[in-house]
């Protein structure tokens, strides 16, 4: 290799290495477990106080909403087990019974989830297809 090529290779390698380093540290510092309700309940002793993300369906009749619309308790299910979620914050418009939600937060000592993020399935453009599909199952 000529001196010039060495320079270019070094420059490129530094960039590539930096990108990989950023990805590596990014993953180790920010990643959270992503569980279904059953998985979370099975593991809840080991992940106490760690960040988790759970998806499930809102159990009908379980929604206990504060009047100000800024606090809500509800249960989510993966049709095997149920999990109680406490959530504080703006409640998305789409939030209601029987919809799929993703919640993020930490598990408390009682095994309930204190959520700081509540995401509802977006106004899916392809919602109709999904409904059809779930009906079939």
């Amino acid at each position: 290799m000529t001196k010039k090529q060495v320079k270019f290779t070094t420059g490129s390698l530094i960039i590539v290495a930096t990108v990989f380093y950023l990805i590596y540290t990014g993953v180790s510092q920010t990643s959270v477990y992503f569980f279904t309700v059953s998985e979370l309940i099975n593991k809840k002793d080991t992940i106490y106080d760690e960040g988790v993300r759970v998806n499930g369906t809102v159990v009908p009749g379980s929604i206990d909403q504060d009047k100000s619309n800024l606090k809500v308790n509800f249960e989510i299910t993966d049709s095997k087990k149920n999990l109680l979620v406490h959530y504080e914050g703006i409640i998305p418009d789409m939030f209601k019974e029987n919809i799929d939600v993703v919640v993020e937060g930490t598990v408390d000592q009682k095994g309930n989830l204190n959520a700081n993020t509540l995401l509802t399935a977006c106004p899916s453009k392809y919602e109709a297809e999904k409904k059809e599909l779930t009906n079939k199952i």
Binding site: K4, Q5, K7, F8, G11, S12, I15, V16, T18, V19, L22, I23, T25, G26, V27, Q29, T30, S31, V32, Y33, F34, F35, R53, N55, K67, S68, N69, L70, I90, I91, P92, D93, M94, F95, K96, D100, V102, E104, L119, T120, A121, C122, P123, S124, K125, Y126, E127, A128, E129, K130, L133
Partner: protein, 668 residues
């Protein structure tokens, strides 16, 4: 009408297969009659898809609810504007729209190249029609837009109110124009690989297609962001959701391609790299469609786990297999004839810019697929969210921004120290001083945002210097007034100065993103009538509620707030909530935004009852610059795209000499 639509889709499928086979035969046998037949078939195919689209369109406008798709996505109350947009509100219609755009593009390519690129065109058309045939196949045999309802309902289910927003009218078609547009340079690249004609002809031919697709893809993303900002009511516009990432990745790689092809044009280098970038861009558009349609990755956009996604997966594998095979096969022909002159040259800054762009794309790809990767490797699903993307992509983005300022200061081939000093000193020192002055007010605790502003000043200054130097040089040599020189300068070098204008737009977007993501102030409060909420120097006083009934199926509850800034009444905010009694639709919030160049005041009505209401109020500094940057970017693109006679003549001259003396290298 529906029968016509249905049948023209079937015939279109057969015709697309004919075009693929016949073009192949024609190319091998040099049969001009067959080529002409193929060309006509291409136009006929476009006609058939237009006919199907017209049929679906007709069904929407006439509320023909016997078609399941129409019944799912519209109802009688829907305004004409949104009835039209309902066409692509769902999966089936979007496939049809995709095919429509692609068939139009094929016809345009065919017309543009009637008298040139004759060896490439059959293969270009084959590739385009393989893609098209795939989409038409899906519509015929998997998700037919003309499928009948089980029983025809009296009224349709209506369009989700959240999709009833002007941005949603334009966001999907714009995005598709970008997605589909990249098929054209991809098809040319494949044709070049297949035929072995690997000079830069295919790149030059598709330059405008590339810019246009890149522009539409970027705008599609931006419109999506705008929609999220005004409609979703969480105060932000980008959440690093898989669906967003899916269209962001091809845009990034497309941006890298757009820059690196200039090196090939100028220096006949980086051929393999360019080939890889355009193949990757197209692959990423298909990949994006796959992840959004397969339900493989958990997304808030829950597109639904349809089997359709897996067709895209197969298609993806086929694309990757074919393109990799041909790149390897043609590797000897793709060797560069030159090498980079100097470490500090414009070429090398392009190379590093490419690595950074691809780096962001890779980080985004890794983050998006991380749950799958970790599940496969460790057996646990681990996910990364916005903090990951911010932590990784912000530093890379900053390096990119800095390079954007550095690049025009460095000359081609080799920059001398004197040359660097001369160009560098003024923008760099001014930016350093401005940055230092800004630090006390904005830097504390927001290092990255502060760095963004400082770099932005630097980049803007280098661009201003570029314009100034060019104008001065021109007016000195031609004797024109500086004012005229400024415009003729741009007109005579559209690519170069259009590019600079695009960069100005990008810098403004950087500023908008840094401001609105780093310095957000947020208040959430329940107030009774007459009570006030204070946020920074604003005071919002709740005046009460109004009710409105814009159409029979909708009730709107509108809150009135008087907004004072520094004690002066400046605005009345009317955030509202819309209810849809008698339908299955959930209420939707309509935020109200007072947008100024300095900051956005963003007001959400979270809840209300007879005597009190809860509001969430945000101040997003500099948010407007994101959209302004987008408009300037569009303007710069227009200048780049504007037909250029001089460029055309230069090309003609170049290729006519090439024909006469094929082996001679044309110096650039």
């Amino acid at each position: 009408m529906t029968t016509i639509g249905h049948f023209s889709l079937l015939i279109a499928f057969a015709l697309s297969l004919y075009i693929i086979i016949a073009y192949w035969v024609a190319a091998k046998s040099e049969n001009e009659y067959l080529k002409a037949s193929c060309e006509n078939s291409v136009y006929a195919l476009t006609g058939l898809i237009v006919l199907s689209s017209a049929a679906l369109f007709y069904a929407f406008v006439n509320h023909d609810f016997s078609i399941a798709y129409v019944a799912h996505y519209s109802n009688r109350d829907l305004s004409l504007f949104y009835t039209i947009s309902a066409f692509w509100a769902g999966q089936k219609g979007s496939l049809l729209l995709w095919s429509l755009v692609l068939s139009f593009f094929s016809s345009i390519v065919s017309i543009q190249n009637r008298h040139k690129n004759r060896e490439l065109i059959p293969y270009v058309m084959i590739v385009l029609h393989v893609i098209l045939a795939f989409f038409i196949f899906l519509m015929n045999f998997s998700t037919n837009p003309f499928e009948k309802s089980f029983e025809t309902p009296q009224d349709g289910s209506g369009l989700n109110p959240m999709l009833q927003n002007p941005a949603m009218m334009f966001h999907p078609p714009t995005l598709y124009l970008g997605y589909v547009g990249f098929s054209v340079p991809f098809a040319f690249a494949m044709a070049a690989l297949i035929t072995g004609k690997l000079s830069d002809v295919w790149i030059r031919t598709t330059r405008k297609w590339t810019i246009l697709s890149w522009f539409f893809l970027g705008m599609g993303n931006l419109l999506g962001a705008q929609w999220a900002y005004v409609e979703l009511g969480w105060g932000g516009y980008w959440a690093w959701d898989p669906v967003e990432n899916a269209s962001f990745m091809p845009w990034l790689v497309g941006t890298a391609y757009l820059h690196s092809v200039m090196i090939q044009e100028k220096k006949d280098m980086l051929k393999v790299w360019n080939m890889a970038l355009i193949l990757l861009t197209f692959t990423l558009t298909i990949f994006g469609t796959f992840i959004t349609r397969s339900g493989l990755i958990q997304s808030v956009h829950a597109f639904g786990e349809t089997t359709l996604g897996y067709y895209f997966l197969y298609f993806l594998f086929v694309t990757i297999a074919f393109s990799t095979y041909y790149v390897i096969k043609r590797l000897p022909l793709l060797r560069s004839n030159n090498e980079l002159d100097s470490f500090v040259s414009r070429e090398s800054s392009f190379l590093f810019n490419n690595l950074l762009l691809v780096g962001i794309a890779f980080a985004t790809f890794w983050g998006t697929l991380f749950p799958l990767i970790s599940e496969a490797v460790k057996g646990v699903k681990i996910t990364v969210g916005p903090p990951f993307y911010n932590q990784v992509n912000v530093p890379i983005g900053l390096a990119l921004l800095f390079l954007m300022g550095l690049c025009p200061l460095i000359s081609w081939r080799k920059a001398t120290l004197a040359n660097l000093k001369k160009n560098f000193l003024l923008p760099f020192s001014t930016a350093a001083i401005a940055g230092a002055a800004l630090y006390p007010s904005v830097g504390e605790g927001h290092f990255m945002a502060w760095l963004t502003f400082t770099f932005s000043i630097f980049v803007l200054l280098t661009i201003v210097v570029e314009f100034y130097r060019g104008t001065r040089a021109r007016s000195q040599t031609t004797g024109e007034t500086p004012f005229t020189s400024f415009f003729t300068l741009i007109a005579k070098n559209k690519r170069r100065y259009g590019g600079h204008i695009i960069h100005i737009g990008v810098v403004l977007m950087f500023i908008g993103i840094a401001g609105s993501s780093s310095y957000v102030t947020e208040v959430q409060q329940t107030v009774k009538k007459g009570e006030s909420i204070s946020i920074k120097n604003y005071k919002l006083t709740y005046q009460g509620l109004n009710e409105a009934r814009p159409n029979p199926s909708q009730i709107s509850v509108i809150a009135n707030l008087n907004v004072e800034k520094n004690g002066k009444l400046v605005w009345e905010a009317h955030p509202q909530r819309d209810f849809y009694p008698g339908t299955r639709q959930q209420p939707s919030s309509e935020v109200d935004i007072r947008s100024t160049l300095k900051e956005d005041l963003y007001v959400i009505l979270a809840a209300h009852d007879d005597n009190a209401a809860t509001f969430k109020i945000l101040i997003n500094p500099l948010a407007k610059w994101l959209w302004i940057g987008g408009v300037i970017l569009g303007f710069g693109t227009l200048i780049c795209m504007w037909p250029d006679m001089r460029e055309k003549q230069r090309m003609m001259a170049k290729y006519s000499t090439e024909k006469t003396s094929k082996k001679q290298e044309v110096p650039v």
